[in-house]
């Protein structure tokens, strides 16, 4: 990695963060997340706080292959991708401008570096030189501009990127605004935002933001025409069965040589018990995720455990478009009848940290310390009686297996103990996700996002595209709009504290815990560290 952002070119806030770190106000991980988001390279960021960047294993052994158990879903236009598993397949040949690493830093991949101005309304992106597509064409600033146009196209149904760059979009046409993304020269692209946006860097690293070639047609399956900049190409993608990535022929990857020759994903379904059998019968070398009691079992089989504490979480939320939950007092009483410690123990074997019902966790840079809520199960029935719901039948819906079901069952059991007439309904994933935003009361898993405001703006603003609670609080919306323009984390933390308080008081969500993530692999492999967003960085994998 080139250090273009050292010395006088450092973003002014970076120095401030460094002193905050020195004062103990920031953890190392928070410091790295924030400074690298402002365009400071990871090496320079480590340097600012007097540490040296962790050295990558020198000269990983080239050769070998790996079999990973993961659901093989059909690859689709990356901006429509709705599962990390989809991205993990096309990540073999499609790369990203910026990559979020599992130590909390952002690393330029197809960008050499980037810089934000003082109020985060203008970003200057330096395009990496010497990168070629696997058809031999060079990767240029034009490719960057064209991909921004694809991402910002709000007319494409289900475009997960469209709502990520409000500052670049023309409201009227729902497409890229004239002059928003400018090619300055062959190696420089400038983003001119209408409003401050601190999440640009994080959004560019998210899994739907894969960079595609000019020949890619809208809505096409990327595996059918696998032109990309990455080291691999797909040899086979059989949905529900397997996907095989092999080295791209006649392609010089800009990053050197990716160690593994072949990566095979095998789909064995999602039953965690099957994973134990697969490891014991030597059918897989690594898995996508280990869950619940199976973590201990897999440990006992002599496998290497990869562990990561994240902001991945589950939200058991009410939806106020249902008559049962339109009353704030009812929602609050339900929320406070559930003890997160119990849910963490019963639902997730204590493999995480308890949450505070505001969808923010200590790993987030803007995490505010709020006064602890008082859990009050006896308060539930009086509140329900006051709302005339004493004898009403309630139902909480969840996926049909794994920790999602156990967590939801733990919530339901506590509500039942408090006197509520509530049942737990389970659904298979294929039907559950069809209506996930509409259920009156159900549980949803949320993946880790680097900044707390990212999840919160998606989920709890009245215009958020993944708003599943029907929450529409004007004060919250206003605070969020403001928060999204503040690069200074301390100031943003004040707003985050207010937003967190609003979320707690509105009572929509029971957010019992954040999860530690685990996966296992056999000995003899390196670089398979778990990633907070389940990303597989294939080029880091190697045999030992």
């Amino acid at each position: 990695m080139k250090d273009l952002n050292i010395g006088s070119e450092l973003h002014p806030a970076a120095q401030m963060y460094a002193s905050e770190y020195a004062d103990g106000k920031l953890s190392r991980r928070e410091f790295l997340t924030r400074t690298t988001a402002l365009g400071v390279s990871a090496v320079a960021a480590y340097g600012l706080i007097g540490l040296s960047a962790p050295a990558q294993a020198q000269e990983a052994k080239v050769g070998g292959s790996i079999r990973v158990a993961m659901e093989v879903k059909g690859t689709k236009d990356p901006r429509l991708a709705d599962w990390p598993q989809i991205a993990n397949i096309y990540r073999g040949w499609l790369e990203y401008l910026i990559q979020y690493n599992n130590d909390g830093t952002f690393e330029g991949r197809l960008l050499e570096s980037w810089e934000a101005n003082e109020d985060a309304t203008q970003y200057t992106l330096k395009v990496r030189q010497g990168v070629t597509w696997n058809n031999g064409e060079p990767f240029t600033a034009d490719d960057v501009v064209r991909n921004f146009a694809r991402w910002t196209d709000g007319n494409v149904e289900g475009n997960a990127m469209a709502s990520r760059f409000p500052g670049l979009v023309d409201e009227a046409t729902k497409t890229l605004r004239e002059g928003a993304v400018v090619k300055v020269d062959d190696s420089t692209v400038q983003l001119n935002l209408t409003a401050s946006d601190i999440a640009v860097v994080a959004n560019l690293s998210d899994y739907p933001a894969a960079v595609v070639h000019a020949s890619f047609q809208d809505g096409q399956d990327p595996a059918s025409n696998p032109i990309g900049t990455g080291p691999y190409i797909p040899q086979e993608v059989s949905v529900g069965q397997r996907a095989i990535l092999v080295r791209a022929p006649n392609h010089t990857w800009w990053g050197g040589t990716a160690p593994l020759d072949e990566i095979t994903y095998v789909d064995f379904g999602t039953d965690p018990a099957a994973m134990v059998a697969l490891f014991s019968s030597d059918e897989v070398d690594a898995n996508y995720e280990s869950v619940g009691e199976f973590i201990d079992i897999l440990d006992g089989m002599g496998l290497v455990k990869e562990e990561l504490t994240t902001a991945s979480t589950i939200v058991v939320r009410m939806n106020s478009s249902s008559d049962l939950y339109k009353d704030k007092a009812v929602r609050s009483a339900i929320q406070l009848a559930v003890d997160p410690n119990v849910v963490l123990e019963l639902g997730y074997n204590n493999l995480g940290k308890t949450g505070e019902n505001h969808h923010m966790f200590p790993i987030h840079p803007e995490y505010p310390e709020l006064p602890a809520q008082t859990i009050n199960p006896p308060g539930l029935m009086p509140a329900l009686e006051a709302a005339g719901l004493k004898d009403a039948e309630f139902e909480v819906i969840s996926l049909d297996d794994g920790w999602e079901a156990a967590t939801t069952a733990a919530v339901q059991a506590q509500l039942k103990d408090a006197g509520m007439n509530i049942k737990h309904t389970v659904m298979p994933g294929s039907t559950f996700w069809n209506d996930w935003q509409k259920y009156p009361f159900s549980s949803t898993t949320w993946n880790h996002r680097p900044l707390a405001v990212q999840n919160m703006s998606l989920a709890y603003t009245s215009t958020g595209s993944w708003n599943e609670t029907a929450m529409a609080n004007p004060e919250f919306d206003a605070l969020m709009a403001q928060a999204l323009s503040i690069a200074d984390a301390d100031k943003r933390r004040e707003l985050a504290a207010k937003m967190g308080t609003i979320l707690q008081e509105e009572g929509y969500i029971i957010n019992p815990f954040s999860r530690s993530l685990f996966s296992h692999h056999k000995e003899g492999y390196a670089g398979l560290a778990h990633h907070p967003a389940f990303e597989h960085h294939h080029y880091k994998w190697s045999t030992v």
Binding site: G158, Q220, A223, G240, F268, A274, A277, S281, N434, S465
Partner: protein
Amino acid sequence: MGLFVLRRLGVMLLTAIALTFVVFFLTNLQPNLEKLARTEGSVRMTEEAVQDWIAQNGHSGSVLLRYGQWLGVVPGWTYTDEKGQMRGRCFEIGEDPAAAPRYCGLLQGDWGFSTFFKTPVMDSLGDKLAATGWLMLAVMLVMVPSSLILGVLSGMREGSATDRTLSTFSIASTATPEYVSGVVLVALFATAATGISPILAEYGLIEPKKTLFLASATSAMDDITFWNFALPVMTIALYGIGYIARMTRASMTEVMTQQYIRTARLKGVPFRTVVMRHALRNALIAPFTVIMLQFPWLLNGVVIVESLFNYKGFGWTLVQAASNNDIPLLLACSVVAVVVVLLTQLISDIGYVFLNPRIRLA
């Protein structure tokens, strides 16, 4: 005879058309289309986006016309988006729409494009049928001989200790559905922690493996071995063995009470010869029909077993197609099911004539 076969084939065609229309109608109900839109487009699409997606991907308009497109008697749909790019039934994104045929349905030999597998339906279904074919073959090889032997053994001396024992076994096995016996077999033979595998492993009898059998048949897709294929085959076969054995026993006991058997016995023919030469052929007429009836039943039996053992054949495909509302794939599955059911019935009717000369096909 020729006329009989022709008439049966005609019935098969009519049944296939009727069944596929029913399947087509059900998969094209609005909620199912919305589900398809969400899996194909994106889970996170809004309500309006879903409606747009349905309209823009050829799922709007009259059901009859869309069914006609599938049959190939109505021109395939096309849609041109705001950027001037065309999508349509008869060509893939990126291909030249002008060069594509106007009609592309069953009559043109086009079974459609599986939305779940992202391949032409025939490509994905072909492999899967072959996989299920191997499974069915193995099941038949195990099930038919063992069930006939069981049935004959218990039917030749009704009420004996052998009869009681074997009947108990048959009734128990046929009363245990696959989803129960499959799980029990896995627990007994295919886990490293319970059942008999840890005991065998301790004595070093199954080195270097840790279990006696494998609980997943995925690897059997490439390479069938006793180790990975025994459990799925046994799970299906166990159920059928009990059933066919019961039928054979009933048929055998009936034959054994016939006058000619008594005559043969009185003449002093050894019991063994009586059974083998005089009773067996007559006793096998009823089981023959039952065995032929097992083929259609196997088709749905494999749904459970293939899902349980992760064996990617016809049954597993049917489950995936149904849960993802993959319309062309489900239709093709229905056609396959109709053909298999009616064809085996046809064969059993014809075979019956050869076994029982008293019957003539009109």
